[in-house]
Symmetry: C2
DNA sequence: CGGAGTTTGTGACCACGAGAACAAACTCGC
DNA sequence: GCGAGTTTGTTCTCGTGGTCACAAACTCCG
């Protein structure tokens, strides 16, 4: 999605491994960062790729390859310094400073999100909660006052917000997204089960519960079917155990 | 370079449509299903791959290829019958009948999930809410009584549950997962920011807010860096917009 | 009834990602 | 100081998935 292959021609090289990190790697960096944080909390100062890979639930070769895209921050024969690597990953992701975030749609889900502490502890700070409903106005959720949706542009400009979370009903999602883009937001996390249409340059990621469950259901169905077949003829490709 | 033509050698042939649906396709089928449902609600009886692809936010060739894995359910020169295709996809996913689901951890997020209607309308039925905390016992959330975590095995057996949702704090997630597996659950949707270890045969999918936000932050950082560079040397490939 | 137009289904091709394997680089013991 | 042992960074290979393009199959109209 929105592959941004800027293909920089200049060979300043050296301190420029900041280009071309594969999307799949980007998606795993936060997992590594969390694993490292967990190690640091247990006062572990350094670790091998094998240990970190286990903690992150991936293959150690994959981990090393991923880390190699950011640079060479390990020491052969030794491993990685936990704090140093944490900082490098955080820097690469861009969470060394906090990002201001707004949440639009303070219903069941929006309130849970607003109360979610993991937000603030991982590089993000909820600066405003917005809702269109009259009865939500003035209410305080998670220490923040719920503000009218009409204030969106003003808030985004004042707080330099570039990331917005959508937790409104699916029917309103596109309108909210349009308003967000109009206000200057360029990254959207969408919880509504709707396909969002945004101009190029704006990133959208979706979190969709129903889809996840349906994927599980698909595999579950096949497990059941396979069990039936095994009873039936017993000859399945050597899956062993 | 790296122009490897995978040279498969044998013509494999023999389509057995119900086998071997690529994971990427499985992940998109629910999106198509939702788009079809939306069309059906607008009394649209048939559609072309182009229309459906637009509604689902994908490329039409990809859509056709995805659908071709399930069989040949379209009519050339005409398109797809909405109801018929909906049924075929639902059947393939395995959501023609409802799946019983339990939710463990009825805190902020768990309550939002329990109240989430999209659950029940898309092939799933929440049959029980479980929580370990004393003060949650006996409370009613979304019309269901919160039951003690100790009842897990009993409930799973009685209701034939194979899908479980985890929304407990990260520190408790592995314990809950272990108990679920022990009780016979073979598909887990995990909202806790923790890497779960499960035996083979058990599927885990995770929904991780922090990770999604960090991925957005990464791209956001690069957008900012790119803007700087553009100011710097002004030589950027015509991005237009 | 036949040709023009339309849309599906699929084969070919290419880019991306996963994993195994190994050389380079470092530490430690002697 | 040097060899043995360890662990990283990288290369190579292969499978998966995305996109293009087109033949096959269907409808419609004259
Ligand atoms: N509840 C869940 O667990 C859950 C899970 C997954 C996805 N979702 C999705 O998240 C979204 C929100 O779910 P919810 O349960 O919180 O719904 P909800 O109805 O409780 O809350 C929606 C909120 O959005 C506000 N709103 C509506 N239109 C708006 C607009 N145009 N601008 C600003 N605010 C507006 C409403 O006033 C309301 O407060 C839905 O799309 C739902 O499908 C919810
Ligand atoms: N709130 C959010 O929006 C949000 C978003 C993303 C992820 N998460 C994650 O979801 C999880 C739950 O979040 P929350 O905000 O609902 O937390 P919460 O503290 O409000 O609720 C957790 C619930 O789990 C119960 N619990 C604890 N240990 C248990 C155990 N061993 N067995 C059964 N129940 C147990 C607690 O009694 C509590 O009711 C956390 O891991 C959090 O990181 C939350």
């Amino acid at each position: 999605m929105t592959a941004r292959s800027t293909n920089t021609g200049e060979g300043s090289g050296a301190q420029d491994p900041h280009r071309d990190i594969p999307e799949a790697t980007v998606a795993r960096l936060p997992v590594y960062l969390r694993a490292l944080t967990s190690l640091a909390e247990r006062n572990i100062a350094s670790c091998s790729s094998e240990e970190l890979a286990t903690a992150a639930g991936v293959n150690s070769a994959k981990l090393r390859k991923d880390l190699s895209y950011l640079g060479s921050y390990g020491t052969r024969g030794v491993g990685y310094d936990v704090d140093y690597l944490s900082y490098q990953i955080a820097r690469e992701i861009g969470v060394t400073h906090d990002w201001p975030v707004i949440i639009v749609g303070i219903g069941n889900l929006g309130q849970a999100l607003a109360n979610f502490s993991g937000f603030s502890s991982r590089g993000f700070r909820t600066v405003a909660l917005l809702d269109a409903a009259e009865q939500m106005q003035g209410r305080t959720v998670a220490g923040l006052e719920v503000r009218p949706f009409a204030d969106l542009a003003e808030i985004v400009a004042a707080e330099q917000v570039s990331i917005g979370v959508i937790s409104v009903p699916a029917t309103a999602a596109q309108d909210v997204a349009d308003a967000m883009v109009e206000a200057g937001i360029s990254s959207i996390l969408n919880f509504a089960p709707a396909v969002l249409n945004v101009p190029p340059g704006v990133d959208v990621r979706k979190v969709d519960l129903s889809i996840e469950l349906q994927i599980l259901a698909y595999h579950e169905s096949r497990k059941a079917a396979e069990a039936d077949e095994t009873v039936d003829n017993g000859s399945e490709e050597g899956i062993t155990a």
